[in-house]
Amino acid sequence: MPPFTLHHPESIEEAVETASKLIAQGDDFDWVAGGTDVVPNYKWRINPKPHVISLASIPEANQTSRYEIGCMTKLSSLTADNEVHPLIVEAASKIASSLIRKSATVGGNLCLDTRCFWYNQSEDWRRSIDWCHKADCGTGADCRVIPNQNTLCVATYQGDLAPNFMALGAEVTLIGPDGKRVMPLEEFYQLDGMKKNVLQRGEFMLKVTLPKDAYDYEGSYQKLRLRESWDFPEAGISAAWKKGDYSSLRIASTALESIPKTHDDQVSEFVSAWEKGATISKLSDAIRKSVKPVNNTALPPNYRRSVVRILAKRALNNIGCE
């Protein structure tokens, strides 16, 4: 593990101040919440930084209510007992393993680093392929998944919570040196496996907020994975609606591209003239066509793309769409 200095700010202000100071000094740093994503990456020396700022001691990040979930909330506490939305409970229960869920957090899952066969490897391994675009170690290396394109990183976002929060219309609150920003979750992600999201340097995610009508929504999350424990999603589809109200239907997907995304376009195309049975098949197919997985996870991309249709169909069936 490369050595780093760990900072423990105890308030939002102190966190921003710590970050600003490091920026001013020209020091690079990472935020850390539960550490289940950052620490393994550091061990493999994947873009390690000399400073790490922990969000663990910030009171606001640890607060959770029915509508506001702080970024430090442990995945293991997203339970029905804590009055969390059933869709979020379902999604959280499918993440990694029960042991990891005791450490991993909501914020960490939403800000999960993108993953790739050519990237999530040890330093020796990556050196032997002359690095890759995402962690090029100053060499300007090409992408190893799709060679001869040097502009976009196609590493896959494999978080489970994001599509579900999107389907419920959640917003995120970001805190940074320039103040506070609030935006819908789908706007938080930015298409590039390296950039991943809109977070500016020194900015961090404080909490997720569900809209007032979120609890009117019923949802289902379909996660494709080889094993029912540990595995990141190979594809994930979330669907939610106010039961019986087709116009409220929202579908979002994950693990198929560099960012999770909503499928409002496909939904709106079919939802106005809903035809029992036939529409589900058309809609599922449209969603399949709208995603472009690449070959950098455990299962081949053509398969992952093919079964998006099935996952979407099952998610819709589960919530009573017919």
Partner: protein, 932 residues
């Protein structure tokens, strides 16, 4: 008897009457005791065989060891003797060894798949403060290898590296951080060579073969070993009534043990090497260290730490063990090297990625007339156990069935990938899967039940296989019957709805390898065990058997406890150090229980004899009339006349002090004389039959195994709990290979998933409900009748699942693992072929029994009677493979049948029709080409 015999020191008069101990006071319990139990236990007749007056049923007949059964521990479920150390975290594994003043070693690994090292400059490494010693291949140029015929490894690359991650140099430093930093300071000039990744390309001539075998090298290919075997009457293959032809592609899998490799080396003040390593086979490491370091073996002490799982992956002598010793010698300080998980995959030795082709035929009365196997296996960069694997892929598939003819071509090639080696079920797993699926397919063509097809074609107990293996006990039939009943097979097979399936598979495995690799079995035994009993009555057993979690220490302790009728707490097994342990071949080829327990029984019998003789002196009754039971020896006809174990022991020790005995095991002469006859030869064989039930998500292609009925013939379960553990564990490991595990090599030849997240070992959620069923066929030569239970139980789960998937969706899969993408593709292909809109409309396979069914059932019933008589040695006539086809077992088959083949090289006219691996026979060796 008087008041009793008082043991010195101590006084039992201060004993509490409520049976509890007095805190802080060391009181010797009453004479002859070995624990806090003051009274002798009654003889446990439930665990004493019927043949000697007990109540233990013996359906398979009596056994030579029945007479020495005391009802103490054999056959009882015990927790393993080392389990307390493990569950309390006190077991010391490789990396737990911390010697004072240690340094940390790290290994520099090759970034290239295949390259020559033109120069290595270590000056910058040596200059780094905190670096203690540096070593490169030049420091140890002697080669070593697990098999004497293929010594192709070095401590570090001498001239070239053969796969990415191959060892190049090593360094030890004051801390791990310094050692890691030092790795970046080596200046190396490389000359990259053209790598070979595809095993099919390994058969072709190249400029620079990965290894060079001089005049034995096959042309300029990368073929390490080729095998040809043909037995039987090939004319039977013609006019086949049913046939199956399948080409399989199987990915490489890794053992996935929990503990990564670790080693600590230290040269003690007398200049002797002390090496701590979690090894399955410490003796091979011992030999290799001696060779590589140029130090006689007696100047090396190999200390086996607890082993955190081995499964074959810790049975080679490893280069990092040499590195640690070299660095420790250079630095004069202890060196500890512990692998990252990635390094574990780079050293590999997992199951060979394979291309396997199986052709089978059956004749008009459902006999298996032809059995052709071609196996091309990918050995990676080194030989390891590969020489043997090349044979095992063929010969271990020849039983439990009686065959008309057998034809095998195999080849193992080197590629620029981490070396494959031995893994649980060594060499037998992949072809077994292909063969059992082939049988299923033939059964379908004949419209018969696949279990009945098997039951009508089994070799009986006390027979010979087509290649000449000597079968002794054989519980195959019973195993099949048990799983058939347990699973309610007759109500389910071919009757379940789409997506649900049930399948069967059998297994056959060696119980110990008949030939000790390093010596002539006629000149030195396979296993030796020493026993020492001192005045305290405790029994110290010295054995080299390496407990890798399978329970070998417990097995040895159990048989000694059984013979001496002592509580198992009084048996202390010392098996960690080569200084004190007699030479032993270690834990591989499922040999330990069979061989070590046999040796331990012999040693214990010697001790027993001495104690009984002393009891004779005291009691005046001949040992034949004395009974050993729970720390007491008494007269058979009047139990009140007796003497405590301790008193008899002390009498026996009068003149010579502690009692010492040595026992050894040597396998009987057996097997044929053809080339390769020793491969797969074993003093006994285990048999197993599994039925698996699966749920297939037809739309997604996800397969979930839900239930397994697993019957394994282990001869006699010395410890049923441990046997069940092995069966369930084997199911888990086999399920990994059939459903999710594979070593993924990407387009650049790099291993893409060298970690436990992406290398998909099934989690607890994927584990089916396993019903372990123990079959006891009571092997005549096994210790108390026991045979192996560690590897064989893995074999049947693969074909059982593949056959069950067919039953569920009607598609035959021949690519392992059955990841959902493979299954999805197969189902989609079928859907399109049947012109269906939705895969949920696929028809499920159904079975309407054909006329052959009755023939097979009748033959199976007949054979059942035959087998029972042979098993109980009521029928001791000769039986060789071929009797089913009408041949006389008392006349050599080649004298009876025109064209009976027994060949280990192809005829020239056969060359054109050989399979993929058989193509290796188209090449000539350098010697044949007139060069060397």
């Amino acid at each position: 008897m008087s008041a009793g015999y008082r043991q010195q020191p101590g006084n039992s008069s201060s004993k509490r009457t409520d049976g509890k101990r007095i805190a802080g006071k060391q009181v010797f319990p009453p004479p002859g005791s070995g624990g806090s139990r003051p009274q002798m236990k009654e003889r446990d007749l439930d665990y004493i065989p019927e043949s000697v007056g007990g109540k233990e049923p013996q359906p398979a007949g009596s056994h030579i060891h029945d007479r020495i059964r005391t009802g103490t521990v054999v056959g009882k479920s015990l927790s393993l003797v080392d389990s307390n150390a493990k569950v309390t975290g006190q077991a010391w594994y490789g990396d737990d060894v911390r010697l004072p003043n240690e340094t940390i070693g790290k290994i520099l690994r090759s970034p290239h798949h295949y390259a020559k090292i033109k120069s290595i400059d270590t000056s910058r490494v040596e200059a780094l403060p905190g670096v203690i010693a540096v070593a490169t291949g030049q420091d140890a140029s002697n080669s070593f290898g697990v098999l004497p015929v293929t010594k192709d490894e070095h401590a570090m690359a001498v001239e070239k590296v053969r796969h990415m991650g191959d060892l190049v140099a090593c360094v030890c430093a004051e801390s791990e951080a310094i050692a890691i930093e030092a790795l970046s300071l080596f200046d190396i000039e490389w000359e990259e060579l053209e790598p070979v990744f595809d095993r099919k390309m390994g058969l072709e001539d190249v400029d620079e073969p990965i290894h060079w075998r001089g005049k034995y090298h096959l042309s300029r290919t990368n073929v390490q070993k080729r095998v040809f075997q043909e037995f039987g009457d090939r004319s039977l293959v013609e006019n086949a009534h049913a046939s199956s032809h399948g080409k399989w592609s199987m990915e490489g899998v890794h053992h996935g043990f929990t503990e990564p490799h670790a080693v600590v080396a230290h040269w003690d003040p007398n200049g002797r090497l002390q090496l701590y390593t979690p090894q399955q086979v410490p003796h091979y490491t011992h030999r290799a260290l001696s060779t590589v370091l140029d130090v006689p073996m007696h100047q090396i002490n190999v200390i086996r730490t607890f082993v955190g799982g081995g499964f074959g992956g810790k049975s080679d002598p490893f280069p990092h063990e040499m590195c640690a010793a070299i660095l420790a010698r250079k630095s004069g300080r202890p060196v500890r090297i512990t692998f990252d998980r990635e390094e574990v995959y780079w050293i590999n030795r997992g199951r060979h990625p394979s291309d396997i082709e199986v052709k089978m035929t059956a004749d008009d009365i459902g006999r298996i007339s032809g059995f052709d196997i071609d196996a091309l296996i990918d050995g990676g960069g080194f030989a390891s156990f590969g020489h043997v694997t090349s044979y095992y892929n063929g010969v271990l598939a020849t039983a439990p069935y009686e065959l008309g003819s057998f034809h095998y071509t195999g080849a193992r090639v080197w590629t620029n990938k981490p070396a494959s080696g031995a893994m649980r079920g060594h060499g037998a797993v992949n072809t077994r899967c292909a063969v059992e699926v082939g049988l299923d397919e033939m059964a379908e063509q004949m419209a018969v039940d696949p279990i009945d097809l098997r039951l009508a074609n089994l070799l009986p107990p006390h027979s010979r296989t087509i290649t000449g293996f000597r079968i002794t006990s054989n519980g195959m039939r019973e195993a099949l019957e048990e799983v058939r009943n347990g699973s309610n097979w007759d109500k389910k097979f071919r009757q379940l709805p789409l997506g649900k399936g049930i399948g069967v598979g059998c297994g056959f495995f060696i119980s110990g390898s008949g030939l000790p690799i390093h010596w002539d079995p006629n000149r030195f035994p396979h296993a030796t065990v020493h026993i020492q009993v001192d005045m305290d009555g405790g029994v110290t057993v010295h054995t080299g058997a390496a407990d890798i979690g399978q329970g070998s220490t417990t097995a040895v302790a159990q048989v000694v406890a059984e013979v001496l009728a002592l509580p198992i707490e009084m048996i202390h097994v010392r098996s960690h150090e080569s200084d004190t342990a007699p030479v032993d071949l270690g834990s591989y080829s499922s040999r330990v229980t069979f061989m070590n327990a046999n040796a331990a029984i012999r040693a214990a019998l010697e001790i027993r004899e001495q104690i009984l003789k002393a009891a004779w002196d005291i009691l005046g009754y001949h040992p034949n009339t004395l009974v050993l039971n729970d720390r007491r020896i008494y007269y058979k006809h009047d139990p009140s006349i007796g003497v405590s174990y301790l008193k008899a022991l002390h009498k026996a020790q009068e003149d010579k002090g502690s009692l010492i005995a040595s026992g050894a095991y040597r396998s009987p002469p057996m097997g044929g004389v053809h080339k390769g006859a020793a491969a797969g030869l074993a003093p006994a064989y285990s048999f197993s039959a599994y039925v698996a039930e699966v749920d297939v998500d037809v739309e997604l292609g996800l397969v979930k195994c839900t239930n397994v009925w697993a019957a394994h013939d282990c001869g006699k379960a010395l410890n049923p709990l441990a046997v069940k553990g092995q069966i369930i564990g084997s199911c888990h490991m086999g399920l990994g290979q059939v459903l999710s595990e594979k070593m993924v090599y990407g387009r650049t030849g790099h291993l893409q998933n060298a970690n436990l997240l992406e290398y998909k070992i099934p989690s607890v959620h994927e584990m089916p409900h396993v019903v372990p069923i123990i079959i006891e066929s009571c092997d005549p030569e096994g210790p108390f009748g026991a045979k192996e239970a560690g590897e064989g139980p893995l074999l049947p789960i693969l074909p059982a699942v593949v056959n069950a998937v067919y039953d569920a969706v009607g598609v035959r899969f021949r690519d392992l693992p059955l990841t959902p993408d493979i299954v999805y593709k197969g189902i989609e292909r079928q859907r399109r072929a049947l012109k269906l809109d939705d895969c949920l409309e696929l028809p499920s396979p159904r079975l309407e029994h054909g006329p052959m069914q009755e023939v097979l059932v009748a033959r199976a019933a007949e054979h059942k009677t035959r087998d029972k008589a042979r098993q109980r040695t009521e029928d001791t006539s000769h039986y060789v493979n071929g009797v089913l086809f009408g041949f006389d077992p008392n006349i050599p088959l080649e004298d009876q049948v025109d064209g009976w083949r027994m060949a280990t090289e192809p005829d020239p006219e056969q060359l054109a029709e050989l399979g993929l691996a058989g193509k290796a026979w188209l090449k000539k060796t350098q010697r044949e080409m007139g060069r060397d």
